[in-house]
């Protein structure tokens, strides 16, 4: 469980985070989405006690992070994959953490094995690791204390497509066993397949949050293409459906697919394409986070 209430961070005249409020429930993966510089990392660092907030509170498992006795046993945080000593091997990095947080050293080996860094890779110094390997090491470190909460800042950065799929499966499994996951990304594609809920931020504010269905509610439309654009246009107009043509002759119609299909059938217009308009979430994400002043 993660609860963020009215969290703000001001640096001089610049407000990086404006009164953010959201919660992440056990058993869910929350995608923390927003363009670069939207305040995602600052918020995650405030949750983890790295950055003192100007106002507001953040708790993990009901406790302020800095008051958790042995945080790694409750929260696995991966805030920056590069935050490892380049001269230490992957194995030593995890062995040190295991010692510090009081878990047996064999767990370090188990985690290295799980993230695919066992064997030779574990014995190499971290400075020789690619970004993807550092992410894997960071995830292994986050999971070392068998936490119930994961906080991961851009964990997909540097992972190859196979790695992204692997991480998705891992996070889904973690949440399905009752874990709480907060994972940030500036790319919707990276998180939409795994996230149950989204917290969309722009310019330091939460601009939308909820499930994909919540976010898309009231924004449905249908994309339709006919063999004869003119005939289809006439059919839609005859049925009284508001349609916007695009350059290729297809239409986006503010009505569900059944009504559009019926209108075309009634006029005998042949359809070659009929589907929900656009990529709903992506359009929404872009429109929410577009670089404009927020509506007051």
């Amino acid at each position: 469980m993660i609860e963020v209430t009215g969290l703000s961070k001001r640096y001089g005249d610049v407000t990086a985070v404006h009164g953010m409020t959201f919660a992440c429930a056990p058993g869910t993966v929350t995608g923390f989405l927003g363009p670069n510089g939207a305040g995602k990392s600052t918020t995650m660092r405030m949750i983890c006690g790295m950055t003192p907030p100007t106002t507001g509170t953040a708790t993990v498992a009901g406790t302020e992070y800095r008051k958790i006795a042995n945080p790694a046993r409750h929260v696995g945080a991966l805030l920056d994959p590069s935050a490892q000593h380049g001269g230490r091997t992957g194995r030593e990095t995890l062995a040190l953490t295991a010692r510090l947080i009081g878990v047996p050293p064999r767990r370090a080996d188990a985690m290295l094995d799980m993230v695919g860094l066992a064997g030779k890779a574990a014995r190499r110094p971290v400075r020789a690791y690619s970004l993807g390997m550092r992410q894997r090491l960071g995830i292994a470190q986050a999971l070392l204390g068998d936490p119930s909460v994961l906080i991961l800042d851009e964990p997909a950065n540097g992972l190859d497509p196979e790695g992204i799929r692997w991480m998705r499966t891992l996070l889904r499994g973690f949440a399905d066993k009752g874990g709480t996951v907060l994972l940030s990304s500036h790319l919707l594609r990276e998180v939409e397949a795994v996230a149950d809920r989204f917290v969309v931020v722009a310019r330091g504010r939460v601009v939308a949050q909820g499930t994909a269905a919540d976010l898309l509610a009231g924004r449905t439309g249908t994309f339709v293409r006919g063999l004869d654009p003119a005939a289809l246009g006439a059919a839609l107009a005859a049925a009284g459906l508001p349609a916007t043509p695009d350059a290729s002759g297809a239409f986006t119609v503010a009505a569900d697919a059944a009504r559009v299909g019926r209108a075309a059938a009634a006029a005998g217009a042949v359809l070659v394409e009929l589907r929900p308009a656009g990529d709903g979430l992506e359009d929404l994400f872009l429109s929410l986070t577009a670089d404009r002043e927020p509506v007051a």
């Binding site: 790295m50 006795a69 042995n70 046993r73 409750h74 000593h85 380049g86």
Partner: protein, 257 residues
């Protein structure tokens, strides 16, 4: 997933200070750079002692003289060991991990200081060994004629200074949080102070209270006066206590990124 009955504020328990100190000691010795630096601390004496055997008059080659020469490595390099133990957290960016695991920052700082003290004390058997080997070899070579006597007091002050050297480095590291700056200032400031003392004679008296080089000099032999102790105390306050206190405040307040 562990089902927890107790509040995360108390369970599982936080790592003990002894465990934190052990981890910090391991962090100072588990990288190649760290190990080489410690080897260098030991080797400096091993290299300096034969030079003394070859060049000093035989009567100035007692065990105490050898022991004093063997302190060269710890004296010069233990502050660097201390600085790096602290500043590596920022230059290697491991602070983000360290303080995520131990969010009460002063506990990490105290563990580092304790680990530094352990390393400082560990330099003692090394320098004692070097001194004994040097006096023995010098005797066999027919060069060393000085006494085998080594006052316990001198061993004690050497231990004290070795620890103070590491901790001074750590205090500088914590205050500045920047490796090159901390190392440079740690070397340059004392030299500047000594130079100032030598060029401006009227400053010699007052600056004696803060010049750490001059304040520690009397400790290399027995018979330290109360005035000398007082000067040592003020110099250590300036070079160790004040930067350490300021560094701890800064560490506790700063944003970690």
């Amino acid at each position: 997933m562990t089902a927890l009955a107790a509040s995360p504020a108390v369970a599982p328990p936080r790592p003990s200070l002894a465990r934190l100190t052990g981890v910090e000691l391991r962090k100072m010795t588990d990288t190649r750079a760290g190990r080489w630096l410690l080897v260098l601390v030991a080797l400096t004496g091993v290299v300096a002692v034969p030079i003394v055997i070859a060049t000093s008059p035989g009567r100035d080659q007692g065990l105490q003289d050898m022991f004093s020469i063997a302190q060269l490595g710890p004296q010069l390099l233990l502050p660097v060991v201390g600085i790096l133990a602290v500043t590596a957290e920022w230059s290697q960016r491991t602070a983000l991990t360290t303080f995520a695991l131990v969010p009460v920052r002063w506990r990490v700082a105290v563990a580092k200081l304790l680990a530094g003290a352990v390393l400082g004390l560990a330099s003692l058997p090394v320098t004692l060994g070097t001194a004994v080997a040097g006096r023995g070899a010098g005797g066999l070579a027919g060069r060393s004629e000085g006494s085998w006597h080594l006052p316990l007091f001198v061993v004690g002050t050497a231990a004290f200074l070795a620890v103070a050297n590491v901790l001074t480095g750590m205090a500088f590291g914590m205050l500045l949080m920047n490796t090159p700056l901390a190392i440079t200032l740690n070397f340059v400031l004392p030299v500047a102070l000594t130079t100032l003392t030598q060029t401006v004679h009227r400053l010699r008296g007052p600056l004696g209270w803060i010049d750490l080089n001059r304040a520690t000099e009397p400790l290399s032999d027995v018979g330290v006066t109360s005035g000398e102790w007082a000067r040592l105390a003020t110099a250590l306050a300036v070079w160790l206590v004040v930067p350490l206190a300021a560094g701890l405040v800064r560490l506790n307040r700063r944003e970690i990124n």
